[in-house]
């Protein structure tokens, strides 16, 4: 074992002692039990992305772990019945709340909440005889309540995917038809009564080339800018919500989006000129025509949005 590895191991041991000291209820855990957990967490969050991270960074990471939550989960994993009771009593409301948010009805929420506790405890048995539940995935970096919500949300997504593979219900079919109808009505590249078929073909071709250039330009954005575009345009979040996901203020997100607009506009024009052989005048005219066309179609687009929202409310209600 290298000197650095030894130093890191010593950090784990000392960090486990400090963590137990910080916990209000250590559930009679030994420091040795926590060391593997700390090693896993440090590897996952620190050493994987920065193998040469300093010892101070590692120690700081350990000291910022949620001591009480981690001790509770490790105690549950160790088969401590009192810890299990404590976990269920303290977080059953959290799990139920998350399940309600992820489910469309009360019955589905109850089923989801029950399945969460089963997932946490684990159906299978590990080699050491203990149940192989999801508890081992909790690192203590975030809050236990937040982790439970994330587990519920992931489980809900998985269940939704499974259901999506099944036969679509009549309502889903109607829902999809509405979406499809709205999209067809509002697709700028293929919409409108073109008086001239040649012009219609020309518009479609131009639209396809602009879509391709736009997709390429989006790929060229930084990850954070790309995430902002996805959150704002694809996921339909408001700037405030998108900023919250990115961890920035709404005003910062707005400025960043304006900058992204400029970059994309510049990049799309360059791609059309360099790769598709457009002239700058044609590029400018295409942008204007697209804007005019989309601007003219904004009302039916908004009407479609209202239909979608109404349908979603009906499904949720």
């Amino acid at each position: 074992m290298s000197q650095r590895a030894e130093q890191i191991e010593q950090l784990f041991a000392a960090g486990a002692d400090r963590l137990l000291g910080r916990a209000a209820d250590s559930h009679a855990l030994a420091a040795e039990v926590l060391v593997p957990r700390l090693r896993s967490a440090v590897t996952k969050y620190v050493l994987r992305d920065d193998p040469e991270a300093s010892l101070e960074v590692i120690a700081d990471f350990i000291d910022k772990l949620q001591a009480d939550d981690l001790c509770l989960i490790v105690a549950c994993e160790q088969g401590n019945q009192r810890a299990w009771t404590d976990l269920v009593e303290r977080f059953s409301a959290t799990v139920k709340s998350a399940a309600r948010s992820a489910s469309s009805n009360e019955e589905g929420a109850d089923d989801l909440a029950q399945s969460i506790w089963a997932e946490l405890h684990g159906f299978r048995v590990r080699n050491d005889g203990r149940p192989a539940g999801k508890l081992s995935y909790y690192s203590g970096r975030g809050s236990l309540a937040g982790w439970l919500r994330a587990v519920v949300a992931q489980l809900a997504v998985d269940q939704h995917r499974k259901q999506s593979r099944m036969v679509q219900t009549e309502e889903d079919a109607d829902f999809d038809r509405i979406i499809q109808h709205g999209q067809e009505e509002n697709t700028w590249s293929g919409h409108g009564e073109a008086p001239n078929p040649e012009l219609q073909i020309s518009l479609k071709l131009a639209g396809a080339q602009m879509q391709k250039a736009l997709a390429q330009s989006i790929r060229g954005l930084s990850a954070e800018d790309r995430l902002l575009v996805k959150l704002y345009y694809f996921d339909g979040l408001r700037l405030r919500e998108a900023g919250a996901v990115l961890g920035v203020h709404e005003a910062t997100a707005s400025r960043r989006l304006t900058r992204v607009h400029n970059e994309l506009r510049q990049q799309v024009g360059n791609i059309l000129i360099e790769q598709e052989g457009w002239t700058r005048v044609e590029t400018e005219r295409a942008f204007s025509e697209v804007a005019l066309k989309l601007d003219a179609d904004i009302e039916p687009m908004l009407a479609t949005e209202q239909i979608l929202v109404k349908k979603e409310n009906e499904v949720a209600g």
């Binding site: 996952k44 969050y45 620190v46 992305d49 920065d50 960074v57 990471f61 910022k64 948010s101 999801k134 909790y138 690192s139 970096r141 975030g142 809050s143 309540a145 937040g146 982790w147 919500r149 994330a150 587990v151 949300a153 992931q154 709205g182 999209q183 509002n186 697709t187 700028w188 590249s189 602009m210 879509q211 736009l214 997709a215 989006i218 790929r219 990850a223 954070e224 790309r226 995430l227 996805k230 959150l231 345009y233 694809f234 996921d235 919500e241 919250a244 996901v245 607009h261 400029n262 994309l264 506009r265 510049q266 799309v268 942008f287 204007s288 697209v290 804007a291 601007d295 904004i298 687009m301």
Partner: protein, 392 residues
């Protein structure tokens, strides 16, 4: 780039997001890339850590890269962020509440604050001490306080400046008449009239005369007559006092007043001879009257005068003798006693000891006597409701 260009690209992006349902094209990735992204989904712990903003920077960059491509993980994060924000806000509030007091305390002692706070505090402290000192001196103005007569002309003083000079001389003035006479006699015998200025010599003579009972009575009469005309403080420089005008009180009047002196006072001043008294009265009566007139010609200090009048206490000094007006009663200083001018020596007095039950009952019934007893120290003989009280 102008707003119109931004609107164009904004509309293009909206259309792009809605128009193509192919997730690979929508995300700008190839199908292989999408599959690779899906295979590396973030687990619940990572998603929650990201939503709560507690992921180290290198790991966060990786997560953002994944979230930009993975719709499933993004949807989970989107659902977690509002709750995580609420949790963080609550934790922040708790931390803020717990550390609020100490943070405020620390903020008070930061250099930017201290830079202005320390001088301000020092200034406030100096002002406070000064105010306290002034307030401590003010009561002395309202009680008996003698004033040095440095003026070359006899002048009726109705107040005293709270100066160190006055205080130092007040001890001399508070001597008993016998002591004063002894002092003045000594001065005379030692050639104390060595002051070169004739006015100064006259002032010394005035002092001696004022100690005489006749002068005292005359001063009392003058004081009674000119109470409303007196100003509490003699603001005009005494050296610049105008020459004595025509006397208002003639020698006959002074002589008449002198004859009215009580026999008791004659007994207290057995060494005075009438000749000297008459001579001094002749000399100083016009001056005193002039001083009165001169005093009234100078505009009085409204603030001080008002304050004095509200207290109901007036004090004047004629030569060396003192008179006072308290609660509408006029008193003259006789030895250690303040004697009501309305008091006749032949009248029997009711002795009341300060602090006794009788005294408390008396002042409770007669607030005026309380004011007198509070304003005048020592023995006070006051005539009240046709009764003479000797408060001691």
């Amino acid at each position: 780039m102008n707003q119109a260009s931004n609107n164009e690209i904004d509309l293009l992006l909206r259309s792009f997001a809605r128009g193509d349902k192919d997730s690979a094209l929508r995300s700008g990735l190839s199908t292989e890339q999408v599959n690779a992204a899906a295979s590396n989904h973030l687990d619940a712990d990572e998603l929650n850590s990201y939503a709560e903003g507690v992921v180290p920077a290198p790991a966060r960059a990786r997560y953002i890269e994944h979230l930009a491509e993975c719709e499933a993980c993004r949807s989970v994060v989107i659902s977690l962020v509002p709750t995580a924000g609420a949790v963080n806000a609550a934790e922040t509030r708790e931390k803020k509440a717990s550390t609020d007091f100490w943070q405020k305390l620390r903020t008070l002692f930061t250099p930017p604050v201290l830079r202005f706070a320390v001088p301000a505090l020092m200034l406030a402290a100096v002002m406070g001490i000064g105010l306290w000192a002034v307030r401590r001196q003010q009561p002395a103005e309202y009680i008996a306080q003698n004033k040095v007569e440095n003026s070359p002309s006899p002048q009726i003083s109705t107040g005293s400046q709270p100066s160190a000079a006055n205080e130092s001389t007040a001890t001399n003035q508070s001597k008993t008449p016998a002591e004063k006479n002894l002092g003045s006699t000594t001065e005379k015998s030692n050639g104390a009239l060595e002051k070169p200025d004739a006015n100064q010599k006259r002032a010394v003579d005035e002092t001696e005369v004022a100690k005489l009972p006749a002068a005292k009575d005359a001063g009392t009469a003058g004081a009674v007559a000119g109470v409303s005309e007196l100003r509490p403080y003699d603001l005009a420089p005494k050296a610049a006092a105008p020459p004595p005008p025509t006397p208002l009180l003639d020698a006959d009047k002074s002589a008449t007043l002198a004859k009215e002196r009580p026999a008791k006072r004659e007994e207290q001043e057995p060494t005075r001879d009438d000749q000297l008294r008459n001579r001094e009265e002749d000399v100083h009566e016009p001056n005193r009257a002039a001083a009165q007139r001169n005093t009234t010609s100078v505009p009085s200090n409204g603030r001080v005068g008002g304050l004095m009048s509200t207290r109901g206490v007036e004090k004047r000094k004629i030569g060396g003798g003192e008179t006072r007006t308290v609660a509408g009663r006029h008193f003259t200083r006789e030895g250690d006693a303040w004697v009501d001018t309305a008091y006749e020596p032949s009248r029997a007095t009711i002795k009341v000891a300060r602090g006794s039950d009788q005294f408390r009952a008396l002042v409770a019934d007669e607030p005026g006597i309380r004011a007198i007893a509070e304003q005048l120290n020592g023995v006070v003989i006051v005539v009240w409701n046709n009764r003479a009280y000797r408060i001691q």
